[in-house]
C-alpha cells in the first residue's frame, strides 16, 4: 500500500513537472522568418502572397513569385480565371497559411532546421483551396500545386476547364530565354550576351523585338537578372507547355486538364545555379 502511495505521488509529481516543462517549451518564440530553404544561390520562402525565390540579405532586390494571384484556370472559351482574384485579395476574402504556428509550429521549426520541411503556401477562398508544396533535391526544387474545389457548384462551373497554369512572375530587366536553344524572348545587348556567356556559360540569341506570347520549344526557360547572381531554370513536365507572358511578366507553365475531378494537380521543377551544367 505504501509502495502504491509512493508511486502514485511520484507519478503525480512527474506529471506536474513535465506539464510545466511542456508549457515552458510552448512559450518559446518562433523564428521571425517562415520556413525557408536554399536552392543554389537563391532562397525559397513563403510570403503572404505566395512562394518566392530571392536573395536574402541584399535589401530590396528583384524576386520571383509563385502566387495564386497570378495562377489561373482556362475554360473552354479561353477565359482565364485566377485562383485568387484581385478583388478577393483586396477585400481579404481569403485565408493564407504559410508559416509555422504554435504549438505544432515548434515541431515544424525543428524539422525545417534539419531540412525535413520545405516552404509551403496554402490559400483558401470560399470556392477553392490552393496549396503549393515544395520538395528540394540539392539545387532543384519541385513545386506541386493542388487545387481542391470546395463546393459541387464550383466543380460544375469549372467542368469546362481545359488547362491549369502555374506561373512564375519575373522582373523587368530580366533576360528570359529558352534554356536549350538560347533563344531569348526579348532584345539583349551584345555586351550582356557576352557577359552571360562568360559568367554562366549560356549562349543567348537575342530577339529582334519583344515577342508577345512565345512558346518554348524545349519546355525549359532560364531567367537571368544582371543585378542578381545565379540563374533560375524552369523545367516543364512532358505534358506541359511553357508560355512567356510578356505583358504581365509571367512564365506560365500550362498543364492540360484531362477528366473531371474535384482536385487538380500540376508540378514544375525549378533549378537555381551559378554555372550552367552541360550534360554530355
Amino acid at each position: 500500500m505504501n509502495l502504491i502511495f509512493k508511486l502514485t505521488k511520484d507519478l503525480i509529481l512527474l506529471v506536474i513537472t513535465l506539464a510545466l516543462v511542456a508549457v515552458a517549451v510552448i512559450g518559446v518564440r518562433l523564428p521571425y522568418r517562415s520556413v525557408f530553404t536554399a536552392v543554389g544561390p537563391y532562397q525559397l520562402e513563403a510570403f503572404p502572397t505566395g512562394l518566392a525565390f530571392f536573395h536574402y540579405g541584399r535589401g530590396e532586390t528583384p524576386f520571383y513569385n509563385i502566387s495564386p494571384l497570378n495562377d489561373y484556370l482556362v475554360d473552354s472559351d479561353g477565359n482565364r480565371l485566377a485562383h485568387l482574384s484581385k478583388e478577393d485579395y483586396d477585400a481579404k476574402n481569403f485565408t493564407a497559411k504559410f508559416q509555422p504556428e504554435k504549438p505544432w509550429g515548434i515541431v515544424d521549426t525543428a524539422k525545417a532546421f534539419f531540412g525535413q520541411l520545405t516552404p509551403w503556401f496554402k490559400v483558401e477562398t470560399d470556392d477553392l483551396t490552393v496549396s503549393y508544396q515544395t520538395t528540394r533535391f540539392g539545387n532543384e526544387v519541385i513545386i506541386t500545386k493542388t487545387i481542391n474545389f470546395k463546393k459541387p457548384q464550383v466543380v460544375s462551373a469549372v467542368e469546362s476547364t481545359t488547362a491549369s497554369a502555374l506561373t512564375i512572375w519575373y522582373n523587368s530587366g530580366d533576360i528570359v530565354f529558352d534554356s536549350q536553344t538560347g533563344q531569348a524572348f526579348m532584345p539583349v545587348s551584345e555586351e550582356l550576351v557576352n557577359q552571360i556567356n562568360k559568367t554562366y556559360g549560356f549562349t543567348v540569341i537575342p530577339a529582334s523585338e519583344i515577342v508577345s506570347e512565345p512558346l518554348t520549344n524545349s519546355g525549359s526557360v532560364t531567367i537571368i537578372n544582371p543585378k542578381l547572381p545565379g540563374f533560375l531554370t524552369i523545367q516543364a513536365g512532358f505534358n506541359q507547355e511553357v508560355l512567356i507572358n510578356q505583358q504581365y511578366h509571367l512564365v506560365e507553365v500550362i498543364t492540360p486538364v484531362v477528366g473531371r475531378l474535384g482536385r487538380l494537380t500540376s508540378t514544375i521543377t525549378i533549378t537555381s545555379n551559378q554555372k550552367r551544367t552541360i550534360l554530355k
Binding site: K6, L7, K9, D10, L11, L13, L14, I16, T17, L18, L20, V21, A22, V23, A24, V25, I26, G27, V28, R29, L30, P31, Y32, R33, F36, A38, G40, P41, Q43, H55, Y56, G57, R58, G59, I106, T109, A110, A112, F113, F114, E191, L192, Q195, I196, K198, T199, I224, N225, P226, K227, L228, P229, G230, Q274
Partner: protein
C-alpha cells in the same frame, strides 16, 4: 598541424595560466600550508584563482616586456615576451610536478562524474550548434584574432585601441588575447588553422560554462541533483542576444565563467564555520578583483564589485553574525530594481563607442522576447518556484545567489547601453534558480527511475527550445546550404592574402570584407568592421558614382589611423562590397550593419570590376566569383 592537436590546442588558454598561477601560489612563504589547503574539494575551488593569478602574471610579463624591456632596453616585444612565457611555463610545470596536491586520486575522483556528464552534454549541444555551420559563428573572433596576430608580431599595447584601428574603444586590455597568443604560438596562423582553432575553442568554452554552473549549483545546495539541473540549463539555454555566453569565447564570457567559478569558494568559505578549511585567502580576493577587472571592463568589473562586496559582507557577518541579515539586502535589491528602472532614462550613454552603444540599448519588450527565445516560459514558471524554495530552505548560499540575481536583474532592466552583456553573469543565476525550481518539484520523488524521467523531460524540453532558438538565430546566416558567415571563396581569398601579402600592406574594402579578411589572413585593413564613418563615406562616394577612377582615388586616400607605414595598397571588391553600397545610409554607415553571409558577384558587378582592372594604376592580382583584389599604385 594534426586536426586533433588543433582541437586540443585551445585548452592551453586555460591550462597555461592555471599552471603558472598554481606555481606562484604554492611557492615561497607558507607554501606547505597552501598545498595542504588544497585537500578535497578545495583544490577545484581554488583552480579559478590559479587561473586568475596566471592571467595576471602573463599580463605583467607582457607589460614588462613592452614598457620596460622594449622601451628602455630596445629589445623587441616578441623576443622577450614569448621566451619569458616559455621559461615561466617550464618552471611552473616543474613546480607543479614537484609540488603535487596531496591525495591527487581523491581530488580527481569526485569531479569525474561532473566532467563526464558535462562532456557528453556539451558534445551533443555543440553538435547541434555546429550543424551545417562548418566555421565558428562567433562574429567577434575575427577582431580578437587580429589582436592575437599583432601580439604574435610583437605589436603589444595595454590599450587595444592603440594596437589596431578595429578597436575604437577600450573595452578590455588584451589579457585574453595574450592567453590566445600563447596557445597559438609558434604555429603559422594560416586561415585554416585559426578557423579550426576557434571552432574548437567554442567547444571547450561550452564545457567551462557547464562546469562553472555545476560548481555553483553544488556549492549553494550541496546537492548533486541541483548541480546537474543547473548544468543542463546553463548548457542548453543559449542566451542568443548580445551576451552569447554558451558558445562564444570572448573577454566578456570568459570573465563571466571565471567569476562563477570563483564564487563557490567565497560562498563556501564564509558560510561554513570559522574553522572551515575553505578560507578565502587575501591573495585570492586580490586575484579575483584584479583578474576579473582586467579581463573585461564591464562584465569583469561588475563581477569584481559583486565579489568584493560579498567578501566584505561575509567577513562582517563572520565577525558579528547577527549584525547583518539577508532580508534587508533582498529588499534593498528589489528597491534597486525599481530605482534603476526609473533612473536609467536620465543617463545618456548612447554615443559611447562612436554611437555603437545605441545599437546595444534594448526596450523591455525586446528583452522579454530574448528571454523567451532562450528559455521559453521556463523563467516564468521555474524561477519563482526556485526563489520560494531558497527562501523556505533559508540556505545562505542560495539567498546570496538570489541577492545577486535581483541585483543583476536591476541592471538588466535598465535601458542603459551594453547592459545585456551582463546577462553573461546573470544566466548562471537564472539557470541556478530554474534548477532549484525543478528540484523543488522532484525532490519528493522517491523512485530514481521516475526522477530520471523528469531530468530527461527537462533536457528534452530544453533541447527543443534550444533548436528553435538556434533556428531563429541562424535564420539570417543561410548561404547555399550552410549557416555561416564565411564561404569557401572568403577562405581562398584569405589564404591568398596570407601567402602573398604581409607586413606593410593595407587592405581597403567594405567593413565586412576587410574585417573577415584581416582576421583570417592578418593583412592590416582600414578599421575592419569598425571602419570610421568618414572613411566609409569616402569609399561609398566612389562606389555610388560607379567610377573606377574615383574608387582608385579613394583607395589611395584611405589610411590606417595607427599605421602609416604602407608600401602596398590592396583594393578588395567583393559581392559584399556591392551589397553594402546598395543599402541606405542608416545601414551602411552604421557599425550594427554587416553583410553577414557570403554572396556571389552579379553580371553588373563583374562589368564594373572589369572596368577597374583596365585602370592603368591598378593591377588585378586575384579574382573569383566572389571577390577581386587589385593592387593600387
Amino acid at each position: 598541424m594534426n586536426p586533433t592537436i588543433i582541437w586540443l590546442l585551445p585548452l592551453l588558454v586555460y591550462i597555461y595560466p592555471t599552471l603558472v598561477g598554481r606555481a606562484l601560489a604554492v611557492t615561497g612563504y607558507q607554501f606547505r600550508q597552501r598545498i595542504a589547503a588544497e585537500r578535497g574539494s578545495n583544490f577545484w575551488l581554488t583552480v579559478p584563482f590559479y587561473f586568475g593569478l596566471g592571467t595576471l602574471t602573463v599580463l605583467a610579463l607582457a607589460l614588462v616586456s613592452r614598457y620596460l624591456i622594449q622601451d628602455y632596453l630596445g629589445l623587441p616585444f616578441s623576443q622577450t615576451f614569448f621566451p619569458l612565457v616559455g621559461l615561466a611555463g617550464i618552471i611552473s610545470l616543474l613546480i607543479n610536478i614537484f609540488r603535487l596536491a596531496p591525495n591527487l586520486g581523491k581530488i580527481v575522483k569526485p569531479v569525474l562524474a561532473p566532467v563526464l556528464i558535462t562532456l557528453i552534454l556539451a558534445q551533443v549541444t555543440y553538435g547541434l550548434w555546429v550543424y551545417k555551420s562548418p566555421y565558428s559563428l562567433n562574429w567577434d573572433w575575427y577582431q580578437h584574432q587580429t589582436l592575437v596576430r599583432l601580439i604574435d608580431k610583437g605589436q603589444f599595447s595595454f590599450f587595444t585601441s592603440q594596437m589596431s584601428d578595429t578597436f575604437g574603444f577600450d573595452s578590455y586590455p588584451p589579457s585574453t588575447h595574450l592567453l590566445l597568443a600563447i596557445a597559438q604560438y609558434p604555429e603559422r596562423l594560416t586561415p585554416n588553422f585559426v578557423l579550426e582553432f576557434w571552432q574548437a575553442l567554442g567547444f571547450w568554452h561550452l564545457i567551462t560554462v557547464g562546469l562553472a554552473a555545476w560548481l555553483l549549483g553544488w556549492v549553494v545546495s550541496h546537492d548533486k541533483k541541483v548541480a546537474l539541473a543547473s548544468t543542463i540549463v546553463s548548457i542548453l539555454a543559449f542566451d542568443s542576444m548580445v551576451s552569447l555566453t554558451n558558445f562564444f569565447f570572448l573577454p566578456q564570457t570568459l570573465a563571466a565563467v571565471v567569476f562563477i567559478a570563483m564564487l563557490p569558494k567565497l560562498l563556501l568559505a564564509r558560510t561554513s564555520d570559522v574553522q572551515a578549511k575553505t578560507k578565502l585567502a587575501g591573495w585570492e580576493t586580490v586575484t579575483a578583483v584584479l583578474s576579473l577587472s582586467l579581463i573585461h571592463y564591464l562584465v569583469g568589473i561588475v563581477a569584481a564589485v559583486i565579489f568584493l562586496g560579498l567578501d566584505l559582507y561575509q567577513r562582517l557577518t563572520l565577525r558579528r553574525p547577527q549584525a547583518v541579515s539577508q532580508w534587508p539586502l533582498v529588499s534593498l535589491a528589489i528597491a534597486a530594481i525599481m530605482a534603476a528602472f526609473l533612473a536609467s532614462p536620465l543617463i545618456k550613454l548612447e554615443q559611447l563607442n562612436q554611437g555603437e552603444a545605441a545599437n546595444y540599448t534594448f526596450s523591455l519588450g525586446e528583452k522579454q522576447e530574448y528571454l523567451e527565445r532562450s528559455y521559453g516560459y521556463l523563467v516564468y514558471l521555474f524561477v519563482p518556484l526556485g526563489i520560494a524554495y531558497a527562501i523556505i530552505k533559508k540556505n545562505k548560499g542560495q539567498l546570496i545567489s538570489l541577492f545577486i540575481l535581483f541585483g543583476l536583474t536591476a541592471l538588466l532592466i535598465t535601458n542603459l547601453p551594453y547592459v545585456l552583456k551582463l546577462f553573461a553573469l546573470t544566466k548562471f543565476f537564472v539557470g541556478l534558480f530554474i534548477a532549484l525550481g525543478f528540484i523543488s518539484l522532484i525532490e519528493k520523488i522517491n523512485f530514481r527511475f521516475i526522477r530520471a524521467v523528469a531530468y530527461a523531460g527537462l533536457t528534452f524540453g530544453l533541447t527543443i527550445i534550444f533548436i528553435v532558438n538556434i533556428a531563429s538565430w541562424k535564420a539570417g546566416l543561410l548561404s547555399r546550404d550552410s549557416y555561416t558567415h564565411l564561404g569557401d571563396e572568403d577562405i581562398k581569398a584569405a589564404d591568398f592574402l596570407y601567402q602573398t601579402y604581409q607586413g606593410r600592406t593595407l587592405l581597403i574594402s567594405d567593413p565586412t570584407t576587410q574585417f573577415l579578411l584581416e582576421g583570417l589572413s592578418g593583412v592590416n585593413s582600414v578599421g575592419g568592421a569598425y571602419m570610421k564613418p568618414e572613411k566609409r563615406q569616402l569609399l561609398l562616394t566612389a562606389l555610388d558614382t560607379q567610377s573606377p577612377q574615383a574608387l582608385v582615388k579613394a583607395a589611395r586616400d584611405l589610411t590606417d589611423g595607427l599605421n602609416a607605414d604602407i608600401d602596398t595598397r590592396l583594393l578588395s571588391i567583393s559581392a559584399r562590397t556591392f551589397i553594402w553600397a546598395d543599402q541606405p545610409d542608416s545601414d551602411r554607415l552604421s557599425f550594427k550593419f554587416n553583410v553577414w553571409t557570403q554572396a556571389d558577384l552579379t553580371i553588373d558587378n563583374l562589368k564594373f570590376l572589369s572596368e577597374i582592372a583596365q585602370e592603368p594604376s591598378v593591377k588585378s592580382v586575384y579574382s573569383s566569383n566572389y571577390i577581386h583584389l587589385f593592387e593600387v599604385r
